[in-house]
Symmetry: C2
Subunit: 148 residues, 2 copies
């Protein structure tokens, strides 16, 4: 009984909302849906946006390296980069006869600017939903859950 009272703001009709794993899943799902909606007007998917943010200011990252950092398989990088290239947002720049750097194209810079604004607003709105005393703890806690 005391435990129920202490678990702040848990959904009365959902006994699972006290479980970190369950709340993590639900929060991530809600967040992704919302972010997807906000990125749609830019013609970007969430994975697309993460690539654009990652290659910011760099002209030496290969597809494989991007995938390694973002945890996207090389095979799945292919349609993703094809999409960005078809949209004129990125270009490929040969490093070797084997590797190629993914660099921002001219139109990509403008997209990146719009993206920065959307992301900044999104992250601000995200944090605003969290009670002030919890806010600063979220990112460190989450990073501890997936960083090796």
């Amino acid at each position: 009984m005391i435990a129920i009272v202490n678990s702040e703001r848990c959904n009365l009709d959902n006994p699972l909302s006290a479980l970190p794993g369950y709340t993590l899943r639900r929060a991530a799902h809600a967040m992704m849906a919302e972010l997807g909606l906000r990125l749609a007007p830019l013609g970007l998917r969430v994975a697309d946006a993460s690539v654009l943010l990652l290659i910011e200011g760099r002209a030496d990252m290969t597809s494989a390296e991007i995938g390694r950092i973002l945890d996207i398989q090389r095979a799945n990088m292919v349609p993703l980069l094809a999409r960005l290239e078809a949209a004129g947002l990125i270009e490929r720049r040969a490093l070797n006869r084997k590797s190629q750097a993914i660099v921002l194209a001219a139109a990509g810079k403008a997209a990146q600017d719009r993206l920065h604004r959307v992301i900044a607003q999104f992250e601000a709105d995200l944090l605003a939903r969290i009670a002030p005393e919890h806010r600063a703890h979220l990112v460190p806690a989450l990073n501890a859950l997936w960083t090796p």
Copy 2:
């Protein structure tokens, strides 16, 4: 510069790990993969487990009601419950000529006990990865992100 120094424990090679949205996605993905591994020996998927936990001690919940709470479409409840029923973990009990309650079968009780142990260990291991000063803030912060 100060911001970078202040953002504790951010992956040096991943500028996105300072973003709440990104860390949320990565943490949820890592968590789900780990949980899937731990549930596999029980022959359960994550969604299956959430249903078993939800109907605990209740004999009056319909498929539609379970789906409403767990945010699973009615159409997608069908194969899920068929799986649990084929495994002998649940039974259907007519409430109406239209509705039927999903109740735990005999074998389901044993599965639920095993499940409780796995979940308890899993949640404990999850929280153990988080620095003590952040721990208590995680669930409240996450719940704020998806609770209406």
